[in-house]
Subunit: 188 residues, 2 copies
């Protein structure tokens, strides 16, 4: 029996088949459920498995799958930061950070047309101006690169969240820089 290899063997229903479109190509990579939220957290500075887990409330199996494919796609970089016990962290790459304009635009739309309240405010680190709708600084007018964005909590944000990652994100922080969570209080 001759087995002909066809397009259908291309694995899964992840691909938007004949779409000749860079939006579709992008969504093939980051369009699955949870994926863009993992990238968002990575840009916010989340790097560790458990921090993604508690902050996103994502099933472990799905988180493992997303971290693996994002690493394979070169959007995250998995690297060992201590040997004993072996611990890895996932650091966003340039390719991943380049998704920031898309995420910011989505967030802008969500705030304007879905939510209404101001949850997080993004400021230009150099001059303190607000980052506006299209990514420019309201004060100096320059197009603010993701590494020069400082995130501060907005008035609509819960000021005493349950999980330590959300609490750490209440402090003003520069994007891409690693998030420092409070050391867990000893049960004693």
């Amino acid at each position: 029996m001759l087995k002909v290899v066809t397009v259908e063997d291309m694995a899964l229903g992840k691909d938007y088949v004949t779409q000749e479109c860079s939006i579709a190509r992008a969504l093939e990579v980051v369009g699955e459920r949870w994926t863009l939220l993992v990238v968002r957290d990575a840009i916010y500075g989340v790097r560790r498995y458990n921090d993604f887990l508690v902050h996103l409330g994502i099933p472990r199996a799905v988180l493992s799958a997303r971290l693996r494919t994002l690493t394979e796609e070169g959007i995250l970089d998995k690297r060992r930061y201590q040997e004993s016990p072996p611990r890895d962290e996932y650091v966003v790459t340039e390719r991943g950070a380049a998704l920031w304009p898309a995420l910011r635009a989505l967030g802008q739309w969500g705030r304007e047309y879905v939510d209404g309240s101001r949850l997080r405010i993004f400021r230009h680190a150099d001059c303190g101006g607000d980052v506006e709708a299209y990514g420019t600084c309201a004060v100096c007018g320059t197009l603010v690169p993701v590494a020069d964005v400082v995130m501060v909590p907005g008035p609509g944000l819960d000021s005493a969240p349950a999980d330590p990652v959300s609490r750490a994100l209440l402090r003003p922080k520069r994007l891409l820089e690693p998030l420092e969570t409070d050391p867990a209080q000893p049960a004693h």
Copy 2:
């Protein structure tokens, strides 16, 4: 029997539960598979059920579901354009057109980091300048509103596609304006 209504009754797994984040809010609305591609087509000027169907290659049941929820969400407007036989069209609203910056940013990322080839080129209708990475015009520098964008085929695009919608999209066209497909050739 007392039936207590709980969070689990909230229908489906569509919601990113406790996410206090406008990106998550946006993705709750437009984050399902196919949804952003339907909005993209609507912004490109596609308005009719069958045009979405052949251009996207989407299962009919899924298309019906997406058109329904997008209409309910006020992103598309379903309206009757002829009475006999009854025919409806789906027109993108202001709320839907406001997704353009996010779609453009996603497409920009796809072109830079996934695909490489230039499939579609967006120009400022007023002056003919290219629309750049962050939505500004390369010539006059203004932030180009979606209604002033003209889409022309790029060098990477197939010049003789099979379906009539892709063929119609080869002609330069202004975004949001209705797409005019070739009348189907009579079989005779």
